[in-house]
Amino acid sequence: MELNCPIPITQYKQVLLAHGGGGKLSEQLISKLFLPQFNNPLLNQEHDGAIIDFNGTRLAFSTDSYVVQPLFFPGGDIGELAVNGTVNDLACCGARALYLSLGFIIEEGFSMDELWQITQSIKRAADHAGVQIVTGDTKVVDKGKGDKIFINTSGIGLIDNHVNISSSKLKPGDDIIINGNIADHGITIMLQRAELQFDNEIKSDTAPLNEMVQSVLEISENIHMMRDPTRGGLASSLNEITKKANLGIELYEDKIPIAENVKNACELLGLDPLHIANEGKILFFVDPDDTQKVLAKMKNQKYGEKSCIIGKVVEKDPGYVRMKTTIGSTRIVDMISGEQLPRIC
């Protein structure tokens, strides 16, 4: 057993918010503190969930906790997020989500009416995604020892025989497709926090993506990898993938879809939309032979109308994401360092 803390204590004596921000400090915490301790082949897949083989039947198992503030925001609330987030993590493993657990940590004094609203929202989201809540837990902590309500969901799903999603399957030339506008969720939360008013209301994109994923997996056996770019945004997800696959990625800035009002908000707040969280977006890494077929299928789906190709996997510069800018130059797209905004999901 390792007795010394592998992240030098001199570096961070306390946990910072950025350790949970989905960027480099989170990555350090996971890779240095957690992974070596729990080291096992299932964990080391470093997927959105673990893929477990029971005598030929493959299960995906995933968990996520939700601490967003405010609890209710344009386009959704913490309950809907808690269902969709775990459903989407399972979908990224190539699994059909079946069952969820639901754990509440509630602060004493929390409004019963809001708890009821959240519960109804969870029910609606679960019905919409076609999953059942089959077990749960409730804890209440002293006033001041929590922040209203935290939710954990875990989920299991089944993976069809022909499906095999893994960063090891990525190949140079694979196209990268996204199912619509980026940065909606993070900007929605940020504007709520800052109490900034914009003419056009910006809404969170939270959505269950399992149906779209299944319909794509049914028509193509050449989906090499999927990832939902949540915390840390598109930039962090793509950087993680390049490092894991030891390949490079080339993005086309003018092809990355982003709503005009979200772009304006990013300009005003000095933020890079590539670093902003999404909750209803998914990246497909597809063999170019199947790209058009997959794109056409996605565009027919409720959450995929604006699907488009935003880049491709390349051999050059393994571990790095490069972007062709709108003015024709090339730049590196890095992971976010700290947290751009805490508690967005």
């Binding site: 306390q14 910072l16 772009k263 003015i327 130059s329 090339t330 730049r331």
Partner: protein, 366 residues
């Protein structure tokens, strides 16, 4: 996006790049003063569009970067005192002091809050009469008027629990300091458009004459910056040294008179220490006697906090344009945005962080 896309037009960028290439005959070194410009140059890899004989160096115009270590230590010290709420803009919270940064102080229990405007800090003070609310006020002439306004609003509201910890700095004295340095090798400046929106550009005209150097007031988008460079090179090639205003859509010669009056009402011009550069005479703003009760340095006992800069960090040379970030032995190894040795690695507008984020593959390959 109207009023922005026009300044990111790929055709215009190519046309300007071509013109710059045609005009440039000699080797020229041009310094962009403002960190916002540095950020744009890196974000859009604008150096790809310039001929090899034009070199850009990145000036001291990132307020986070030039804030001296000891004032960060003062902020951390104040934040850890009882009944204090310390507020600042986001980037400032991550700047390392000699021990802690403000986010680490927060993790230790200090009440540290990020705000979007100093007036938010005034509201926090008004609604928390039992707390002392401190706004850590950094920035150039651009942010100073808003901070001056916050102090004058607090005075009007008779708040006795609002303070600012001021580390305001001024651009023209920094240009003087750079041009007076013995190793100076700057041929022209791109002045910071936003600073001139407030201050106008009258005060830069004597500098062009004194140092025989072109200064072009420049905006922040790719087209702005390339136009600024073109104007500077045209002057250099023809041997002239004048003040030009590329950013005329926002900048008037006399600037924003109301904002300037507010600055005069609240602040005095004082000598100021700059991180990595040292003391520059008459280069900062401090609350004047009329508003001194709002001065956090006077209220909290932090006068004795004095700190030396780490020897390994070459931020001084970087900020004066004498060295590029990657010429530092700690760049990207001991010094990264997660664990910065010096302030230019912290802020997204800092030269070192900009190089680290946007150019590291090129650097690794070279």
């Amino acid at each position: 996006m109207k009023y922005i896309d026009e300044y990111r037009d790929p055709k215009l960028v190519k046309l300007l790049a071509l013109k710059i290439k045609q005009v440039t005959k000699e080797n020229w070194t041009i310094m962009e003063i403002c960190g916002g410009q540095t950020h744009s140059i890196m974000k859009y890899s604008l150096e790809e569009f310039l001929p090899e004989n034009i070199q850009l160096v990145h000036g001291p115009g990132c307020p986070v970067c030039v804030t001296p270590l000891e004032i960060i230590d003062k902020a951390v010290n104040i934040s850890l005192q009882s009944d204090v709420i310390l507020t600042s803009f986001g980037d400032m919270l991550r700047v390392p002091g000699s021990g802690l940064d403000l986010l680490s102080a927060k993790a230790l229990g200090a009440d540290v809050r990020m705000v979007y405007s100093p007036l938010d800090a005034v509201s926090i003070a008004a609604s928390n009469p039992n707390k002392k609310v401190v706004f850590f006020a950094v920035g150039f002439e651009t942010t100073a008027p808003a901070n001056a306004l916050a102090v004058s609003v607090a005075k009007k509201q008779n708040l006795n629990n609002f303070y600012i910890l001021s580390s305001h700095v001024l651009v023209p004295p920094a240009i003087e300091a750079i041009m007076s340095a013995p190793e100076v090798r700057i041929h022209a400046f791109l002045a910071a458009g936003h600073v001139c929106t407030v201050m106008g550009y009258n005060e830069y005209i004597p500098l062009t004459e004194k140092y025989k150097i072109p200064i072009v007031v420049t905006g922040f988008e790719p087209v702005d910056i390339l136009q600024g460079i073109l104007a500077a090179v045209e002057q250099l090639e023809s041997g002239s040294y004048e003040l030009e205003n590329q950013y005329s859509r926002n900048v008037k010669k006399e600037g924003n008179i109301k904002a300037q009056e507010l600055l005069k009402e609240v602040f005095d011009v004082v000598d100021r220490k700059w991180r990595g550069i040292g003391l520059i005479p008459k280069s900062g703003l401090n609350l004047n006697d009329k508003y001194s009760t709002f001065d956090a340095e006077k209220h909290f006992d932090v006068k004795n906090i004095q700190v030396e800069e780490p020897l390994e960090c070459i931020s001084g040379s970087v900020l004066q344009g004498l060295k590029k970030p990657f010429e530092c032995s700690a760049f990207g190894t001991k010094c990264t945005p997660e664990k910065p040795l010096g302030a230019p690695m912290v802020s997204t507008e800092g030269a070192c962080a900009a190089y680290f984020h946007y150019k590291k593959t090129e650097l690794m390959q070279n």
